[in-house]
Subunit: 196 residues, 2 copies
């Protein structure tokens, strides 16, 4: 078959969740579009790798030395939300509920995968806490074994620093139907129930 | 938010069936990969638009003046399979059942969309039939209103030329369960039933 299209299909199938049929659809879609569209996509892919780096302060994604959030004077620098990945940061940002700064660990403690505390940006977090005036740290790691282990590890380290330490609530998702919720989540929702 | 990643997400969401969440997944996947991977993808996208053109003979996709299939001496030049789009050609090629040449119409007759016979490569097909020694034309347009209309239109034009004219069989898909097949397909399967 025609070579350029096969190569593109091959590249597309490396994206997560993209099989050959989807890759084919993408390729034919681009083929029908005007050349500018394909060029824009290619440029955006290249820009991503060339321009994006980690913010020297929070280790979130940045196009400059520090990211837009750390630079934003309207954000509250005394509250730091600790997340595992940049995608988690983006998820929290979308809610507009948090107006403080972030700290991205770039992973979670997972001995089975050979990821210990030293592989994460924990040292840098402690450094921030010692240098800056921080009044609250919100632990927003994932609610799975690795995320909970990381949260526990950080609790031990931060608790003695006399900084308010919080963890995101865990329980029933909004719109969640009790009969479809897994037992662990339901148990957690019971344990963390609050008085009305 | 970080700009380069937003732009890439925006470009990805223009692909068919890609929403913001999928685009985000693609972007973060590329971000984690080594730069070469992103570069390969970008290059493949650009190559597609710069290198691909239409074969001057069959109007399938080609990287040169004529496509790999038309150039292949092992293919039977006396049989021509007429398809609507390059993607249909690829679907037939995958079966390895057809060893002749193709003719890509680039669409189907659809008066509602303003697509008449003149917008398709029908003139070029008739020219091929008059210049080359063709013994059979297989109509492999889609089995929908536009495809059937196109097939009917071509039948009227080609029938008088004294060339064997065939249409792909229509009926139950292999693995199809009778109770889940739509009534039109089932009717067609009945009408086209063959003696054993």
């Amino acid at each position: 078959m025609a070579n350029a299209i096969d190569r593109l299909i091959h590249e597309f199938t490396k994206l997560p969740g993209v099989g050959e049929k989807t890759a084919l659809r993408f390729a034919f879609h681009l083929l029908k579009e005007e050349p500018k569209r394909a060029h824009d996509l290619a440029q955006a892919v290249i820009d991503l790798k060339e321009r994006m780096r980690l913010c020297s302060e929070c280790f979130g994604l940045a196009e400059h030395e520090t990211c837009a959030i750390c630079k934003d004077a309207r954000r509250d620098p005394t509250t730091i939300c600790v997340v595992e990945d940049p995608s988690d940061l983006m998820a929290v940002e979308k809610t507009h509920v948090f107006r403080g700064l972030y700290h991205v660990l770039h992973g979670a403690i997972s001995p089975l995968d050979g990821i210990g505390p030293d592989e994460l940006r924990i040292k840098e977090l402690l450094q921030r806490l010692s240098l800056r005036q921080v009044s609250e740290v919100v632990l927003a790691t994932n609610v799975n074994i690795e995320g909970e282990a990381t949260s526990l590890y950080l609790t031990r380290l931060i608790k003695p620093l006399d900084i308010k330490l919080t963890r995101l609530a865990s329980g029933l998702p909004v719109g969640g139907d009790l009969e479809y919720i897994d037992a662990t989540t339901l148990t957690r929702a019971f344990e963390d129930r609050h008085i009305l």
